[in-house]
């Protein structure tokens, strides 16, 4: 009888213990839990981490703080309450600023986790924000410089991925209720898979300047099964398109038709351009695939002009990056070249999307003068741009998104042809510029790109087919040297003092024009 009673007790104990041991979760070949996938927090913590009643555009919700309330110092609770009272004006998210950690994790937008032994990347649908978590024991290269999203270092403790976030600035909030921390805050996150479709997320905030003791929040992250890629929500771009600060370009943005005046597009021109050779001594993964992992920067030369040019204001002469057509001249439609030349006028500088801190698009993201990191998690090539945008290249999917879905960064499908990574992309919205000098792109562009591995980096080649702005495909090529270093963060919008100057120049020009009329 005693044995039977023992077994009866043991069964529920075992049953209770099983989920915690999480036997049925995806794992990598070495047994590490595999967090990769599309997830979204199941919580109302984005509105407030604590118990809260409903307000306009805020759902009511229960506290996710262990113990119920945040243990503020008295002065800090007063500040939080003042933040809450003035949230319409003060909430950084209302200005589309970077949300910081842990706020980004609880927002009602999906995010995608990518996992390699050395890195875990989290890309968010909200405004192309990403987090890069160094997970291979890398020492922090630039300690002491604050970032909106902090500096994240991860390691595994059993089946839990533990991430320590330091060097967060004190400008972000932790929710829409004005909860905040100081620069000295250390946030320790714990990601534990409870089953194949649930991650238990916990974050402990240790910040003696603001709180009387450390405190912990917890909520589940739930696997999203309704999509196989994230889409885009570009917060500031949507705001400025809605309020008129960023104006629609009818003949380039989706769904502009091909202009009747155009020279017919010769799609076959330049099709047989040979590729540079891949040397034998390139870095490779264990399975033999070329290893492109690393930090790259092109230095921005193409950002100041794709074509060969003589002196242009402060820019020195350059040979250009166009290898087809062989004369290095872009095969513009006549009206599109006129548009490009007009964009060089000071009063058009305001129209460059990157001046507004919008994403650079493709191929421009490869040659803006700031670095990017390439990761190769299973099934993807992920490119994280320091200017806080990212591109996920799906190595398995073979069909693009429906034609009506249009994105700043397009939809990229990748495959290997021998040792060359080939990327086919489409679904662009036509809002980007090709560079700072205003080379033109439209929604009709499709791009075939090649990452051609070399011993010290790769050669980047992109063939752009755009039957609206050009009369035939054209190809650019440039070296992409691998370099030492880590990604920092470019928070652009948050301190962008330039746009008002550019707007003044544009407005003065428009006033002059209307006076002349």
């Amino acid at each position: 009888m005693k044995v039977r009673q023992f077994l009866i007790c043991l069964v529920p104990l075992l049953a209770g213990a099983l989920p915690a041991m999480a036997q049925d979760i995806p794992r990598t070949a070495d047994g590490t839990p595999f967090l990769q996938g599309i997830w979204q927090a199941q919580t109302r913590a984005a509105f407030s981490l604590e118990d809260h009643v409903a307000r306009h555009n805020m759902q009511a919700g229960l506290s996710v703080v262990a113990g119920g309330s945040i243990p503020y110092q008295d002065w800090a609770r007063e500040k939080q309450q003042a933040n809450f009272a003035n949230r319409a004006e003060l909430d950084p998210l209302n200005k589309c600023y970077l949300p910081g950690v842990p706020r980004i994790m609880a927002m009602p937008w999906p995010f995608q986790i990518f996992q390699t032994p050395e890195h875990v990347a989290i890309t968010f649908e909200w405004t192309q924000v990403y987090r890069l978590i160094y997970a291979g024991g890398q020492e922090q290269m630039y300690p002491g410089f604050e970032h909106w999203m902090g500096d994240s270092r991860g390691h595994w403790e059993g089946d839990t991925f533990v991430v320590v976030v330091r060097d967060s600035n004190d400008r972000s909030w932790m929710d829409a209720a004005g909860n905040f921390h100081s620069i000295g805050a250390v946030i320790t996150e714990r990601y534990t898979m409870e089953d194949a479709d649930t991650i238990r997320y916990e974050a402990t905030i240790d910040d003696p300047e603001v709180f009387t003791e450390s405190w912990t929040i917890s909520y589940p992250l739930v696997r999203q099964t309704d999509m196989d890629r994230l889409l885009e929500y570009q917060c500031q771009a949507e705001v400025e398109e809605a309020n008129g600060a960023f104006e629609r370009v009818d003949n380039l943005w989706y769904p502009a038709p091909i202009p009747e005046e155009n020279i017919p597009f010769d799609a076959s021109a330049g099709a047989d351009l040979p590729l540079p050779a891949v040397p034998a001594d390139i870095p490779r993964h264990a399975d033999g695939t070329p290893d492109l992992t690393g930090l790259y920067t092109q230095g921005g030369i193409a950002n100041y002009g794709l074509e060969k040019r003589e002196n242009l204001a402060l820019f020195p002469p350059a040979n250009g990056v166009i290898i087809d057509p062989v004369d290095g001249v872009l095969p513009y439609q006549r009206w599109a070249r006129a548009e490009m030349l007009e964009r060089r006028e000071p009063w058009r500088g305001y129209d460059d999307p990157t001046a507004h801190c919008f994403v650079a698009g493709i191929p421009r993201s490869h040659y803006v003068p700031s670095p990017y990191m390439i990761l190769q998690p299973p099934g993807y090539t992920v490119v994280l741009h320091e200017r806080m945008s990212y591109r996920v290249i799906d190595m398995n999917r073979r069909e693009h998104l429906p034609d009506s879905i249009r994105l700043w960064m397009g939809d990229a499908l990748g495959h290997w042809e021998g040792d060359v990574l080939v990327i086919e992309s489409a679904n662009y919205n036509g809002k980007a510029w090709q560079n700072e000098l205003g080379d033109v792109t439209s929604h009709a562009q499709t791009v075939r790109e090649y990452y051609i591995p070399q011993a010290d980096g790769f050669v980047y080649r992109a063939t752009v087919s755009d039957p609206i702005a050009y009369s035939r495909p054209w190809t650019m090529q440039m070296p992409m040297p691998r370099q030492d270093g880590e990604l920092l963060e470019v928070a652009c919008l948050e301190d962008n003092n330039d746009l008002e100057h550019l707007r003044d120049v544009r407005d003065e020009h428009r006033a002059t024009l209307s006076e002349e009329q």
Binding site: G144, F145, L314, W347, T354, A355, S370, V490, D495, D498
Partner: protein
Amino acid sequence: MKLQGIARLLLLSCIFYPVSGFSHHSFSAEFDIEQPIALTGKVTRMQWSNPHGWIYIDVENDDGSVTNWALETSAANNLIRRGWKREDLPAGTTIVVEGFRARNGTPTANIRGIQLEDGRRLFSGNAEELRN
């Protein structure tokens, strides 16, 4: 005339090579190459930010009044990678700068060279060179 001469000299010495790395907007749309400027003033604040850093200095005008100028520098990330820290430019430091004035007429300039009073150059090249 003197300012034009400085600008020409700097152009010749290629100090004006484009520019502030991390540039996210057209230089010539915001700043006017026809308006070179040289300023001496005391630092009131440095905004260590991206996509550009900003140094604010008080400059005494000919009539004795003081104007606070906003000076656009390279991106903070660019400076960090070259070993610079924001403490390298404390408030109160007198600096000499050359650059180009903003087209909209505000006391704003994009600067290419920063010198301390003793002639050492700041935020160009490697930080260690100055500290050593």
